[in-house]
């Protein structure tokens, strides 16, 4: 059922976890003026023009977080304190991404938060040569079949999903966006595209879906407007082959046979100096194209930036 949140005299409060991140910062910038923003993050928050934000510098796995729920009657929680850095040991990442989220959701349940927005990723489907084009939300999460290093992301997604079904009265929105790129976000793909010489697997040129950080921030904001529950893929203006993307951002691609690249990456990773775990290469070899029409229809969302605007902003600051 689609219904707009009714306007009340009390100012509504939204908690944004991980607000110091590049994407979360832009989400906060776009939150409508009738909302009060409470931010939680590990790094100092850069000020946002025209907004007063109640900022708490704390770790979401700590008990101090619950005090925010006690003191403030929160209407909405946007959970973006997810650690994607593959160099952080899996034990630590699991603690933040899974245990931290479990505690946060427990608090949401106890203090009767009406809406929770959770940011997962389309990576949980995994890049696989057998992937159909346009993966829908009910597709199996297969990434760990070959890429065990990000098992915490799959567990995060699965836990959020079961929690959503357990709490039908809370509007729970789990977003699985495609690759988010832009000048503010730092993830595996943007880091890769900002290289001067970009290694690509020889003979593979999969289609890759991208969404601009501004469009993604807009998508997250759209979640505030509709009281729905569900898992949603989020896509941007479209998909392009890897080499075309590299041409547009202006890098110089050099092909490496994937067997060589894979082994080298695995050896470097084992030595502790590799940039990424070797199975990440699969995202440059096989497609992982998701179907975002459900989100676009249910939340009346459409990306505003074109493919070329989205891609060029990644490197040209």
């Amino acid at each position: 059922m689609i219904g707009r949140i009714s306007m009340t005299t009390r100012r509504k409060k939204v908690l944004i976890t991980g607000i110091s991140g590049g994407l979360a910062h832009q989400v906060a910038e776009m939150i409508p003026q009738n909302w009060d923003i409470i931010g939680v993050g590990l790094r100092e928050l850069r000020p946002i023009k025209g907004r007063k934000i109640e900022f708490h510098k704390l770790d979401i796995t700590k008990n101090k977080l619950e005090d925010i729920f006690r003191r403030r009657q929160l209407d909405c929680v946007i959970h973006m304190a997810v650690n994607d850095n593959p160099r952080v040991p899996i034990k630590h990442r699991h603690h933040i991404n899974v245990v931290g989220t479990m505690k946060l959701l427990e608090d949401c349940e106890r203090y009767k938060v009406k809406k929770v927005v959770l940011l997962s990723s389309a990576n949980v489907y995994g890049a696989d040569p057998n992937n159909p084009v346009y993966i829908s939300e009910d597709h199996p999460l297969r990434v760990t079949q070959s890429y065990s290093e990000i098992s915490d992301k799959v567990e995060f997604d699965s836990y959020c999903r079961s929690w959503m079904y357990k709490n039908p009265s809370i509007s729970t929105i789990i977003l699985r966006p495609c690759h988010i790129i832009g000048s503010q976000v730092h993830n595996n793909l943007t880091g890769y595209l900002r290289l001067k010489y970009i290694p690509i697997p020889l003979g593979f040129d999969p289609m890759i879906q991208v969404i601009h950080e501004i469009d993604m921030a807009r998508a997250i904001n759209a979640c505030l407007r509709y009281n729905l529950s569900g898992i949603y893929n989020v896509v941007g203006p479209g998909e392009l082959p890897l080499t075309e993307i590299i041409n547009i951002v202006g890098g110089a691609p050099f092909p490496i046979p994937h067997v060589v690249g894979y082994s080298a990456l695995r050896a470097l990773w084992a030595l502790g100096i590799g940039p990424l775990p070797a199975p990440q290469v699969e995202f440059l070899m096989y497609p992982c194209i998701i179907d975002g029409t459900r989100f676009q229809e249910d939340f009346r969302f459409s990306p505003q930036l074109s493919l070329s605007e989205t891609l060029r902003s990644t490197v040209l600051y």
Binding site: A252, P257, L307
Partner: protein
């Protein structure tokens, strides 16, 4: 104030012309002039929706596909001298072309695709559902994707049909193309999947009969252990293969005849039992076999 248009596709971040891109452009412009104007015109008239860089979600890109299609169409016209009958019967919008598979190499699919592009009005891009292992092969996977060929997954097929595309399916699969000489122009068992998809998406089925494919690479024996070792669906022993090495891959220049039958519209939901679906599949099978028999009777010679 005048602005300088910088082509970001050629210049990298520092504004240097990258060697690779420059070389590709140079080669590209040379090959480009080799492509038939007729093919370019027809590619422009395809009803397929493409994004701002001329790609579709599966990776089809006319600017790359034109080169491969040029070769396919040359073979279609001058090597196999394909005769096409009844192509005007293929309806507009979504359609499933169901054919008999033969000839070790999937030249039947290539010829149907060439016919639909060059001889159908309006031109259509034919999507074939390729074997899964193609997706794991470097170069081949990219090559197939740029030419609009799709991994054989039912979800892909449904999506294509919902987009009103033209999909060719050989329900015999690799068992059909790997047929031995003694079984030529017979049909092995048809899979039922295509009929369920057609019913679910309300797609008309056009039976297509291909004459000439069986003689292009007559196989007398399928060396199964070798095939298994190499990860191939079959390993044919033909008069030329493997005796002549790579040269043995060259099929004989048999003459191709392709018969398109009237579209069949089936009623149903796609959730019927196998035996009910089988009855419908048998109708399609019979049409194909009838046309094969007709085509063989009409044919005077294998080569002309």
């Amino acid at each position: 104030m005048s602005t300088v248009e910088v082509d970001h596709r050629v210049y990298n971040k520092e504004g240097n012309l990258t060697m690779l891109n420059m070389a590709l452009r140079l080669i590209g412009s040379q090959i480009d002039s080799a492509v038939d104007k007729e093919i370019k015109r027809r590619l422009k008239r395809l009803p397929n929706k493409l994004n701002e860089y001329n790609y579709d979600a599966w990776g089809f890109h006319p600017e790359v596909a034109q080169y491969g299609l040029q070769l396919c169409i040359w073979l279609y016209r001058y090597y196999w001298r394909t005769e096409v009958y009844g192509i005007e019967k293929v309806p507009e919008g979504r359609v499933l072309l169901i054919g008999n598979h033969s000839g070790q190499l999937p030249m039947d699919g290539v010829n149907i695709a060439s016919a639909m592009l060059m001889d159908a009005e309006p031109p259509r891009l034919v999507r074939t559902m390729i074997e899964r292992w193609f997706g794991t092969m470097p170069l081949i996977s990219t090559f197939a994707a740029r030419h609009g060929q799709i991994l054989g997954d039912p979800k892909n097929c449904v999506k294509l049909l919902e987009n009103d595309e033209c999909v060719v399916v050989f329900p015999e699969g690799a068992r059909g193309s790997g047929k031995l000489w003694y079984d030529r122009y017979t049909l092995v068992d048809f899979g039922l999947g295509f009929m369920r998809l057609a019913l679910k998406t309300k797609t008309p089925i056009v039976p297509v009969s291909i004459i000439g494919g069986e003689e292009q690479m007559p196989s007398f024996y399928d060396a199964k252990p070798l095939a298994k070792m190499l990860g191939l669906p079959y390993f044919p022993i033909t008069p030329t293969f493997p005796w002549l090495g790579l040269l043995g891959f060259v099929p004989f220049p048999t003459k191709y005849h392709i018969y398109f039958d009237d579209p069949l519209y089936f009623e149903g939901t796609g959730d019927e039992t196998d035996s009910e679906i089988q009855k419908k599949v048998d109708i399609v099978k019979k049409k194909i076999l009838d046309n094969v028999a007709f085509g063989l009777a009409q044919r005077k010679n294998i080569f002309w």
